[in-house]
């Protein structure tokens, strides 16, 4: 269980950084990058190859990220002077080209054999108790800060609910969520039993399962609609309770993570866990500062209307280049961490699907919100890990098909989200209809 949680946290951290890069480009600047994984590939290979050549890991990571940002610079110089859609098209091609280079330049990348047994960060470390406590302490500080902000947000949001109704509202929301969760669990358990009993052919079982899920969805939506008519601040209370539940789960995850770091029993993972959480926190804080600064204001202006930004004296081209480079840099860092987490690097790790994952995360959380990206990454990886292990017992499909099925469900979730909550989890709905 501990290893499970640790790898979940690491993946979430990596894809938060990765998604934050895309969010800066698309959510804040309006640049469409369909080849985000290219930057990650450069970062990963750059770091690994340099470190194998004896360059210290920190330096190798920095160099990989800089290489990725230079790739962003190149793409920007080549396409930004053209019409917007060229960037989207070129980035799609670029990602594939970079992957093919990794496949074919065997003298450098060893092609499809991939790179293995390269140096990992903090893996050789055998920290004494003081260092361990310090590491756990930094983790705790990061988490504490996050909870402090979450608490502020919850108090702020709770003001929308009349005081006297707060308890009934939250209890109803809690009950609603628990009931829905139990229903899903029941369906899962039922399907599992049926599958093990093997009375029905797989096709029939699949159909039954699917209709049960759709029924549950329909029931949940119907109940939610009914409740929202009864309670004025229904969606707000639902959000609050969900945030609280997530916070509880977060404490749980933090417990495991802290114990993993303290015991340092699996050095390569413990060190990486600490490093990736710390980097995520730093990058998150840095980006929040940036997007609230005059610099970030220019990016948002470019997203809204380039011509206005130009008319007001902003050098749009330079800012777009900066956003591309910055996003590439972050993807490069995510690439290093990704390589270290996987401990082996194959060109196949960097298929376009990874770009698609980043888009899912950003859209899920709500474009233009850094917290949203963090949340999107959490939800995405929680979904990914849970379904990877749980669905195997429930859904009557073999492993290869199950993989495809999970991606299909993500697509379905996105479609449903676009219909019910087009602004993403944390997006602001008012923004969608502005100026139309």
């Amino acid at each position: 269980m501990e290893g499970f949680i640790v790898s979940l946290v690491i993946f979430t951290a990596i894809f938060t950084i990765f998604g934050l890069g895309l969010n800066l480009q698309w959510g804040f600047t309006g640049l469409i990058n369909f080849g985000h994984v290219a930057f990650m590939t450069v970062g990963a290979y750059g770091t690994v190859l340099l470190s194998m050549a004896g360059v210290p890991l920190g330096l190798a990571m920095l160099a990989g990220a800089i290489a990725a940002s230079l790739l962003g610079l190149g793409i920007g110089l080549a396409t930004l002077r053209l019409r917007e859609d060229y960037l989207a098209i070129v980035t799609i091609g670029l990602a594939e080209v970079i992957r093919l280079v990794a496949v074919n330049e065997e003298w450098l990348t060893r092609g499809t054999f991939g790179l293995q047994s390269f140096p990992l960060p903090l893996a050789m470390l055998n920290p004494n108790p003081i260092v361990r406590v310090a590491m756990v302490g930094t983790l705790a500080a990061v988490v504490g800060l996050a909870y402090w902000r979450l608490w502020g947000w919850m108090r702020h949001t709770a003001r929308a609910i009349p005081r006297s109704d707060l308890v009934t509202h939250s209890l109803t929301a809690l009950g609603y969520l628990l009931a829905l969760g139990l229903l899903l669990l029941g369906i899962g358990a039922g399907a599992r039993t049926l599958r093990q009993a093997a009375i029905w052919p797989n096709g029939v079982l699949g159909m039954v399962l699917l209709s049960a899920l759709l029924g549950a969805l329909w029931l949940g939506k119907g109940l939610s609609d009914r409740l929202s008519r009864r309670f004025r601040a229904w969606s707000t209370s639902l959000g609050l309770v969900m945030a609280a539940l997530l916070a509880v789960l977060g404490v749980y995850a933090f417990g495991y993570a802290a114990s993993a770091v303290y015991r340092y029993s699996n050095p390569s993972k413990s060190g990486l866990l600490w490093l990736s959480v710390l980097l995520t926190a730093l990058i998150f804080w840095g980006l929040e500062t940036l997007v609230r600064s005059p610099w970030g204001r220019v990016l948002k202006a470019i997203r809204e209307d380039e011509a206005v930004a130009k008319a007001l004296g902003k050098n749009v081209f330079i800012y777009k280049l900066q956003a591309l480079m910055m996003g590439g840099f972050l993807a490069g860092i995510a690439g290093s961490l990704y390589a270290w987490q996987l401990t082996t690097v194959y060109p196949d790790n960097f298929r376009s699907l990874v770009t698609f994952n980043a888009w899912t995360i950003v859209v899920l959380g709500g474009a233009g919100s850094n917290v949203g990206t963090l949340l999107g990454a959490t939800v995405f990886w929680a979904y990914d890990t849970i379904t990877r292990f749980v669905l195997r017992d429930i859904v009557p499909l073999d492993d290869a098909r199950l993989g495809a099925f999970r991606i299909m469900v993500i697509g379905l979730i996105l479609i449903v989200l676009m219909m019910w909550r087009p602004q993403g989890i944390l997006g602001n709905k008012d923004e969608l209809t502005l100026g139309r």
Partner: protein, 266 residues
């Protein structure tokens, strides 16, 4: 009074004007949108630019503000040629344009729309956000004060924290006007500031333009509303089919047969 029917190139005026353009041409495929047009805007004036729909006024504005590159001709602003510059360079030199259809930055607050327009902000440089955070915060406070002042002047202070996208059409015109003031420009090009605005608001806009003009800002205004042109402008330029038709004082223009003919369609 100056008429171009027999005399293609205007004489350069004696005092050097703030903005001067000559022989400007721009083709879009077969359309000769601007055809060897000239214009001159004296320092401190409110100059009008009128002409029938499709006369090429907006295109001329785009040439003057470098949003389009001219096929031929030159533009001089404040003693320097600017037709080779990028639009943002023109703006930093003190020439701001507004748009015929008011363009608010929808998902930015009204206040942020204003703050964006301030020039030479330290915090617009990536590294300065980190290296000079103190100075950035201080400038931000000053600009905020200035923005509030301007918003109060145009009656948008109550909306400062709202999304600019939630403003009405007329309010967007006001925001665009206030935003261009925030640049601290020498010259503002206004493209139909009164279009789609109710009469009371039009009067307000005119008052603001006059006040700011008295404070030293030069205006060049495209407008179909003749009352606005007549009450504001010192001098009016008339275009038709991409060419200069006439220029003169508002009173002279009103008497000009060619202008009347162009407006009434021969």
């Amino acid at each position: 009074m100056h008429s171009y029917s027999d005399e293609p190139i205007p004489h350069p005026p004696i005092a050097v004007p703030l903005l001067r353009a000559q022989h400007l041409s721009k083709r879009f495929g077969g359309v000769h949108a601007v055809n060897r047009a000239a214009i001159s805007v004296p320092q401190g004036s409110i100059t009008g630019l009128i002409g029938p729909n499709g006369a090429g006024k907006t295109t001329l504005f785009q040439l003057l503000s470098c949003f389009l590159q001219p096929d031929e001709g030159e533009v001089w602003f404040d003693g320097h040629p600017i037709h080779t510059l990028q639009p943002h360079q023109v703006a930093t030199r003190g020439l701001v344009r507004t748009f015929q259809v008011a363009r608010a930055l929808s998902r930015l607050s009204v206040l942020d729309n204003m703050l964006l327009a301030a020039q030479r902000q330290t915090g617009e440089q990536f590294w300065n956000v980190w290296l000079r955070s103190h100075q950035v915060a201080q400038e931000e406070r000053q600009q905020r004060e200035r923005a509030w002042e301007l918003l109060e002047r145009v009656g948008l202070a109550a909306k400062a924290q709202d999304y600019a996208g939630s403003l009405s059409g007329g309010q967007r015109k006001l925001l665009e006007l206030a935003r261009s003031l925030m640049v601290n420009p020498k010259l503002i090009l206004l493209d139909e500031p009164a279009a789609g605005v109710n009469p009371t608001l039009i009067n307000q806009i005119c008052d603001h333009i006059l006040t700011w003009n008295r404070q030293g800002i030069t205006f060049l205004i495209i407008e179909h509303n003749m009352d606005v042109i007549m009450s504001l402008c010192d001098r009016v330029w008339v275009m038709a089919e991409g060419r200069n038709l006439a220029d003169g004082t508002p009173a002279e223009i009103q008497q000009n047969d060619q202008v009347l003919a162009a407006y009434l369609g021969q």
